[in-house]
Amino acid sequence: MARSYITLDGNEAAAYTAYRVNEVIAIYPITPSSPMGELSDEWSAKGVPNIWGSVPRVIEMQSEAGAAGAVHGSLQAGALTTTFTSAQGLLLMIPNMFKIAGELSSTVFHIAARTVATHALSIFCDHSDVMTCRSLGWAMLFANDPQEVMDFALIAQAATLEARVPFLHIFDGFRTSHEVRKIEQLTEDDMRAMIDQNLVLAHRERAMTPDRPIIRGTAQNPDAFFQSRERSNPFYAATPGVVQKVMDKFAGIVGRQYHLFDYVGAPDAEYVIVMMGSGCGTVEETVQALLEKGEKVGLVKVRLFRPFSREHLLKALPTTVRAIAVLDRTKEPGALGEPLYQDVVTALGEAMMEDALPFERVPRVIGGRYGLSSKEFTPAMVKAVYDELAKDKPKNHFTVGIIDDVTYTSLDVDPTFSTEASDVVRAVFWGLGADGTVGANKNSIKIIGEETPNWAQGYFVYDSKKSGAVTVSHLRFGPRPILGTYLIQRANFVACHQFHFLERYNVLDLAEEGATFLLNSPYGPEEVWDHLPRSVQQQIIDKKLKFYVINAYDVAKRVGLGVRINTIMQTCFFAISGVLPREEAIEKIKDAIRKTYGRRGEAVVQQNFAAVDAALDNLFEVKVPAQATSTFDRPPVVPDHAPEFVKRVTAQLMAGRGDLLPVSAFPVDGTYPTGTTAWEKRNIALEVPVWEPDLCIQCGKCVYICPHSVIRAKVYDKELLANAPSTFKAVTAKWRELPEKMYTIQVAVEDCTGCQLCVEVCPAKDKSDSSRKALNMHPQIPLREQERANWDFFLSLPNVPKHDSLRFNNIKNVQLLRPLFEFSGACTGCGETPYVRLLTQLFGDRLYIANATGCSSIYGGNLPTTPYTTDDEGRGPTWNNSLFEDTAEFGLGMRLAINRQNAYARQLLEELRSLIADDELVDGLLNADQSDEAGIYAQRERVAKLKAKLAGNDHPRVRDLIAVADMLVRKSVWILGGDGWAYDIGYGGLDHVIASGENVNILVLDTEVYSNTGGQMSKATPLGAVARFAAGGKPTAKKDLGMMAMHYGNVYIAQVAMGANELQTLKAFLEAEAYPGPSIIIAYSHCIAHGIDMSRGHIHQKLAVDSGYWPLYRYNPLLASQGENPFQLDSNGPTIPLKEYVGKEGRYRILMQANPEAAERLIHEAQEVVEQKWKYYRMLAGKGS
């Protein structure tokens, strides 16, 4: 079978091989390795066989620890087994990996290397995860690009079968796992030729079977263990030779020759870099450029890091070498050097001691760190390393790629140094996630990579915001294989798919002289110039750019594509970039459209065809004037009155200039100020809600549902309106308790995402024109200036005190509570964030949040800006994210610490009673009733009085008391996470914590899938819904978490759906907080992964409840102690068939369209589950069966 050239990313390359040479695949989703498992699952669902003709079984486990356990078991029972993971996932596998290696089991784990969370979580790449595996007894093979990933996946599999040592096949997360490249695809014949069937049989023969029983996994005593550990030495000694033999065999079959250490560069090189991973590509490109200048440089690419072969390393290095720089993509604080550096030094040191160094002179070895968390690693940085090596006294333990002004480790880098080849098309595209830019670019790479002799590469930089997400695509096309693994430094084509980016980003920064600039512009070729910021005009002139415009949104609207401008912009790229002849390009784009959209129906294909044709007619070149004429420019990122840290650090991160911040700019321990989203005015909404005071009934529903806390209400004294801006709106407030006050609903239009939920939920309509509500969407731009002033004025108005006349037990009053969670980067119309906002409104001033990893930790704590903020007194939620799996325990720890300090404070109060000399105060502090806001307020007053009294007293016990006095005020601990955490990976901890009886509150934001990693099935996923790992619809019913918790009897439990019953949700939050033991709220959270119109999320919630799928209930153990039934059913029985609900959601409809029979069967089963469950709930509620 002939090999073909295809374009794919590293994850697909790994999965392609791994799937075909294995029988069992146990996985758990984690970025950036999730796609490997997802692809395997899709192939398995479609019946794609492995090379032996059987279809591998793919199973999703509850955690990586579970996956490793399943792999271990499968290996022991004789199946060829694999898994895919990264970072913390790999760490969770470690205990089993020790066992697997100790038992000399042949397997390959494919690892997209990712940073392990330390002071912060990072999804990006370094080798800190795999370096924790050095001691496990696994071989570690590094692939540097997608071609090598496909090749090494096979080489590792062949080698492990022979060596019996298990293998980690490692490649860099994102840079390799997500980089799209043109590669030569291995065939199944190649795989069959490489895999020795006798070794497969040997693997099976070693397996456990009652037919030839053995025992493994024994416990051993001091008399046996040590010797047994040493018994496996011969296998490790043989492994390097086995790997090289397999590499040689691979070269014979496929043609690509690899070595344990591959050297590239001058044969007589004096300065050599030793490293592994994707950075090797950039070094190789730089070496080629430097060789042309006559420099004697080289690179050793380390392939097999473990077992480390000193012999092979020494052979790979040129004998002429004078100095070696070992680059590690990891940091080991406190070590003498990073792992690869230490190994190289040890190898050379040992050889030197044995007088076995093969070099003309003893080379100097220095070590350096680069690329942590995917920090860019460019040819200029490589040049800096070589320059350092050439110095008399080069810096050891250096860093490159950052400016270290604290411990001065960094090398100076000449930013003008470039190795970009002039015959390579280097195109950069700025787009929005929603406009389809990345998808179009992936299509373009496919077209060019697979349909022309050109080589192609694509890498995509995504946003950490989920709404209004910016994407930057970096595409290279050229006549030679592309080596560089860095973002494009000099672009000869720049496209900006969003006009407003010109005001936010330096879009043309990367454009080189004479480059082509394509702009999606609402203004035509004659008008556009006057609408460009002055600096953009100047760049166009100075860089002599060829400038084209198209009104892509207009074209898209005309052909019915809405905001999807991808096809239009792609067509323009081909039309003006000259990569392909225009006619040929159009034909190929249309072929690609048919391939991409064909299965979704002819209508979509035809719309895209129409877009291609219309694009060319609307593409215009702009005649560039000689002078910049605009009188406006990009505004400052944050205003002058922003806090110092925000101006100095946050603003730089927001503007995409974070790489330029020096080390000293950052906190030493990952501690950051809160409330920074307020400074990031993203202006992402095309339309925003506008309030009509004459229609408003002041119900507060809009404030209650807003996922982004951008619509707010205040009641205030009329006199305060004296200084209001002229367009500020107000009406008389309709509160009995607040007579003669004014009321305003104000929208933060610069923070609004335009989700429309507030408009949809608004019940107030004009009696003469029912299309007019009290809230209506209007274009944002014309309103921006006036509403900015109105918002600022609104913020200056006082908030209603929490402890005063109002009780916050109804929606109307709650709208007046200031949210202490605002402007998060959650998806537009997110179903989770309204619950989080409500939590902060009610208890934010005393709130500890332990947050599980997932969506809520990303929109809650991803830099550059974070949404938790403070009230007028400076109090607010304090937030931390530990891990994915331990959040309940993490929160419990907080509660224990609070309780302990509270007890200590009470002890000190008694102890220091005479010194305080105010019995009333001490008794008040000790006996305070803090069951309501007034009580908490009074206690805070007492604490303030105590602190004032004790101020200046240096007695150690007094200082102790002052330090813990705030703990006398009630504190609230809330544990937040999604269903992936609560139902799966964190369930063990959650179960233990609720069994503890401690006073913690758990909020499960139940989206019924792992939303943050792309919608993988969890045990919360409903029967019949399609999710990743449930491509055929989930065959089992959702786990009833609430009912399981109920069996403890002492846990407060509520199941809520804000969109179905606002008041029941509010009651649940208040009761959970008031309950003196553990509580858990399971909150239906509609999600982008449900395939719904997010502006109607609340309607889906209502349908879920009306169908009986999501019964609302509260279980309050306090009622039982009062002799009442603790279980209260808050919703009516099913009033609509389940089909009426699920038929409106993409997650179900996709199956209805793909496999109608299966969908019907599953929905029928799901209906039965609903009915059975409802009967059971009714019985519990004492309403009969």
């Binding site: 990345v438 998808g439 950490s464």
Partner: protein, 334 residues
């Protein structure tokens, strides 16, 4: 005396004039078989809606693309399942299956939007083996600048376009809202229609007066609705050279007999079967037989058109006089 129940419709031989009209009854092959077993004369399939195919395709594309390629950890949200039934394939395969399984005529039904769509899908339905095709034509003009003649011409053009591409018999199901139904009927027949089906009925929206919302409202039909098609069948019979079918208000054997007498070759029912089950077919056929025995009819053919306007003693009764008669009877009722 044996009674001949057979009729012909667009040249198709039917064992009786009771036809299942286009409805959810034909969504499944099992139900189509049951219709046959129950004695139905022919089945008109549920309508293939071009607009629905387009919307489903666009909706699927939206679901599969919305939120994708935006955020590094979740580049998409659904697995790639493979093929989706968003086109007409499921519909066409049902026709194929029906033709393989039942012996009664199977009539396809199509509602198009674009000129190209009508022709394309009509051809596909013909290729799938349908014995005939019913074009379910309706257009709700909301533009005050659009004259009625334009609406009429659009309908005629659709029929012409489809006629030129397919050779199976063609029925056209029209609405009652034309100023001159006979004129439109003649033009449709001239354009190639072999039968006219009276009438299409729109879902009429309702208003929720508390929430100020327009809500969809579907009421299953009853015999009162027979009056309108009955009159126009009676008027059109003999005036246009096409078969006539009544598809609104047929619930009882008496309705069937009335329809036939007015001039329909077949009468179609769905609401009655949806409400009261397929057992009604056998019952109605038996009741027709009893009635025909009692009134000494030997064949259905005998009565077709016997009460059409051309054949009644007082043709004007279908026109103005009818109106007068109702008025006359009004005082007596109160």
């Amino acid at each position: 005396m044996s009674i001949d129940f057979s009729t012909t419709y667009m040249g198709l031989k039917l064992r009786n004039p009771l036809v299942a009209s286009s409805s959810p009854l034909s969504h499944k092959i099992d139900t189509i078989c049951k219709l046959e077993e129950a004695g139905i004369g022919a089945v008109v399939m549920y309508s293939l809606f071009e607009e629905q195919i387009t919307l489903e395709s666009q909706q699927l594309d939206y679901f599969l693309t919305h939120g994708t390629e935006s955020y590094a950890e979740a580049l998409s949200y659904f697995p790639d399942i493979g093929e989706y039934n968003v086109g007409p394939d499921e519909y066409l395969s049902l026709i194929r299956k029906a033709k393989e399984t039942v012996n009664i005529p199977v009539i396809g039904s199509l509602n198009g939007v674009s000129a190209g769509g009508w022709v394309k899908y009509a051809r596909l339905i013909e290729q799938a083996g349908a014995d005939a095709l019913e074009l379910n034509v309706y257009y709700l003009p909301t533009d005050p600048n659009m004259p009625g003649t334009e609406v009429e011409q659009m309908t005629v053009d659709v029929v012409k376009a489809v006629r030129s591409e397919v050779s199976v018999p063609l029925a056209v199901k029209i609405g009652p809202f034309f100023s001159s139904i006979p004129n439109v009927a003649r033009r449709l027949v001239d354009a190639g229609a072999n039968a006219l089906v009276l009438f299409n009925r729109f879902y009429q929206p309702d208003i929720d007066i508390e929430n100020l919302e327009v809500v969809p409202h579907l009421v299953l039909r009853d015999s009162d609705e027979l009056r309108l098609p009955l009159r126009w069948t009676a008027i059109l019979y003999g005036r246009v050279s096409a078969d006539l079918a009544i598809t609104t208000g047929v619930h009882t054997y008496r309705d069937v007999l009335k329809g036939l007498m007015a001039g329909a070759k077949v009468t179609m029912m769905a609401s009655e079967l949806l409400q009261n089950g397929l057992g009604r077919i056998r019952q109605i056929l038996q009741e027709i037989e009893s009635w025909m025995v009692e009134y000494e009819y030997s064949s259905v053919q005998q009565m077709i058109g016997s009460m059409s306007q051309r054949k009644v003693a007082e043709p004007a009764a279908f026109e103005r006089a009818n109106y007068m008669k109702v008025l006359d009877s009004y005082p007596r009722l109160i």
